[in-house]
Amino acid sequence: MTNERHGQISTTNLKQRFFLWSTLILLGGGLLLSALSFWNTRRLLMAEALAKSEVILQEVEAIRAYVKEELRPKMNELHGSDTFIIEAMSTTYISTTIMEHFSGFMPNYIYRRASLNPHNPRNLADSFEEEMFDWFEADSGRSFWQGVVKKNGEAYFISMVPDYLGTDCLPCHSKVEDAPQSLLDRYGSKGGFRYQTGDLAGIDSVAIPVSASLREAWRGSLVIFMITLGGSVVLLWLLNLLFQHLVIERLGVMLSLVIEKKRGTGAPGPGDELDVLHASLGSLRSYVRSARKGAALQPNFVGDYVVDRPIVAGAMSWLYSGYSVISNDKVALKLGFDEVLQNPLYRACLETELQLFETLSHPCLPGVRERIGDVLVVEEVQGRSLNSLLSSGRLADQSLLPVFEQLCDLTATFHAAGIVHHDLRPQILMLDEKESLRLIDMGLAASDQLPDPIVAAGLGPQGDLLYMAPELIQARRGDPRSDIYGLGVLLFLATTGHLPFSEGRKSAQKWLQHKEEITSPRKYRASLSLGLEQIILKALSYDKKKRYQWVEDLWEDLEREGRQFSENGEPG
């Protein structure tokens, strides 16, 4: 969406992200609230059902105790010990009959006496009750069970207690010949016998239906969710108005200035408005630094040289263009950043850099004219940085091999001299019209013959994480294979015009994850040869043992691949 107000080009990215996250958080909150409400209602329902079922069970137990201890002895006293009147002396019959009457008034409380071998076939245990018999029999210490059971599509909360046979029950439940005639007349001799003292004769249970209550709880949760959803929509609308007025419109004004400024140098980079502003503030800081540096020189002279405009910033220093007042020769001057010169640790890095420039000789390194204190005067650096060339797209096919030949040769020279650069990136590589490459910064380089201040100080990763090998992100310096990774990123960028990773502010851990999941360069350029793709992916291997071990091997493969392109006339 393009918003033309205040000259904005695009102010929807940040807004979209803000509202997407707000919606997700509000929806998630609504869902969580509903779930918590349902869980709490269900918990209360269960607690209530447990309390009720316990009361019913105790009541039944009291009836059975009364029959056993009061009614049956009195009947024996009145009618003789041989008499057995079921309606007045059978604990099971009396308790079951009373509870049947009770359920006539209270249909939601279902009492049941179940047995595996009952006198009355109505009391025969069903499959669930059979399972519970097994459960109680497995451990005689188990005296209570409760839970939710589904029967005939209805959920019941059920409480159960076991009933073990006592000595006084044996006349009716032991041998058929000892049983009272009235019992045999009513139920026959088929079931209810052959028990011994202590046997599990039956299970008393109370079932309370809970499906309706659970449905109520679910409906309540749904209502809460719907209310939250409605509230969220209203809240989001209000936030939208507020965010648009307080942030987006003002941000748009700032952004329009930035984009206007960047229009000349190319399209804004990926990322939202804040990323664009962040990048712009970075450039502004660089500009202020250079302005400060220029202003600090009173007048802008270093020895016999006049300091002109800044060319590019390195890791520890600025490179300025300048000229000699004596010979009028054009030169470049390397001046440390203020903060580098004030910090002993970074000053040691700058000293290493200057020493390396002074001692190393290579066509891709600007020749050193002289050193004046902390300032290194080198020969003039012409051309544009590789970064500005690549910002408008990939490198021309015919330039790829000449550029990388120089780059690989330079890296091989470093490695042969025991130097690891650690910071190969397009910003510090200058390419002139004759395609001569110049490396103008070695601020993070380390030599095996010099102490490395960064390692000595135990500093974390230094440099641009985008071009950094995974081991450098883990602050493990000094391995030449880290430079091969940097070359891999440059090769990816030069052949496709894209970086293998998206820019943006990420944690080191996040960067490591990104480096592990490398995108194929053919995703950005389908015509890229398989051979070149393999070379790039090998150079970008996360595991340094799987990477090219020597930069010369990388160059040989690249050269072979390049030769094939030129023979076959295919794009490289």
Partner: protein, 246 residues
């Protein structure tokens, strides 16, 4: 990557130029000189300058290089060696003396270590020619391949297990595969004063892709070198031994 490894030039410019010409046609990427650029021979400055101008070349310090800088005394050496050192001290330019004084004793490159004599006492200059000193050398490093010079005899020592080695003298030009996981000490022989009864200069190339060592022997104009030794006023025996390779 193809790595040229050579050692013990001892001021023999003729031999050095011959091996560099020979190696130039063998697609070499980097070079490592394991020390003793000077001593015995009549062209110390010239040899140092050739090596300094060689692209992607690193040099280590040998016992003769250290002795000419007075970092160790030359009086512990044989009389001919001592005489040659004292002569060399007079010949060397200040710049080359400074260069020799800054040379490192040891280099580590990926899974390879390079020293002049041995890694356990680099400035003790003990020869590694038998089991005892080979095992000490293995114990002093963790690398897979240790490249040494100093004894002027090309040699491959393979560690069989913790206490045993295989010692194989290298005769003539030959190829040797090192693609297994065994640790090895590789002596690249001498450029300027071979002592294995073969007077030809010796050097080796390590091919990291093929995992192969290529030993080369190159004949050079010994007469010219011997004559230069005589002309320089160095002990005559130093010229004579070049013919016999001892």
């Amino acid at each position: 990557m193809r790595l040229l490894v050579f050692s013990d030039i001892h001021g023999n410019l003729e031999a050095l130029q011959c091996i560099l010409r020979d190696a130039a046609g063998r697609n070499v990427h980097r070079s490592i000189c394991l020390g003793d650029m000077v001593g015995y021979g009549p062209y110390p400055n010239e040899c140092i300058e050739v090596l300094r101008s060689l692209k992607n070349c690193r040099c280590l310090a040998g016992n003769h290089d250290v002795a000419v800088s007075w970092k160790t005394s030359p009086y512990g050496m044989s009389s001919a060696a001592k005489e040659a050192i004292l002569w060399t001290m007079d010949q060397l330019s200040d710049e080359n003396k400074d260069y020799l004084a800054t040379l490192p004793d040891r280099l580590d490159l990926a899974d390879m270590t390079f020293v002049h004599a041995n890694p356990y006492n680099p400035r003790g200059w003990r020869y590694v020619l038998d089991r005892k000193y080979a095992l000490r050398s293995f114990a002093a490093t963790r690398c897979r391949r240790l490249f040494i010079g100093h004894s002027h005899r090309p040699l491959i020592i393979t560690r069989r297990h913790l206490l045993a080695i295989d010692l194989q003298a290298v005769s003539g030009s030959m190829r040797y595969r090192v693609d297994d996981t065994r640790r090895r000490i590789i002596n690249c022989g001498s450029v300027g004063q071979p002592r294995d009864k073969d007077p030809r200069s010796c050097y080796l190339i390590f091919d990291s892709r093929k995992q192969e060592l290529e030993f080369y022997r190159v004949a050079y104009d010994i007469e010219k070198s011997a004559k230069a030794i005589r002309s320089a006023g160095l002990p005559l025996e130093l010229g004579k031994r070049l013919y016999r390779g001892i």
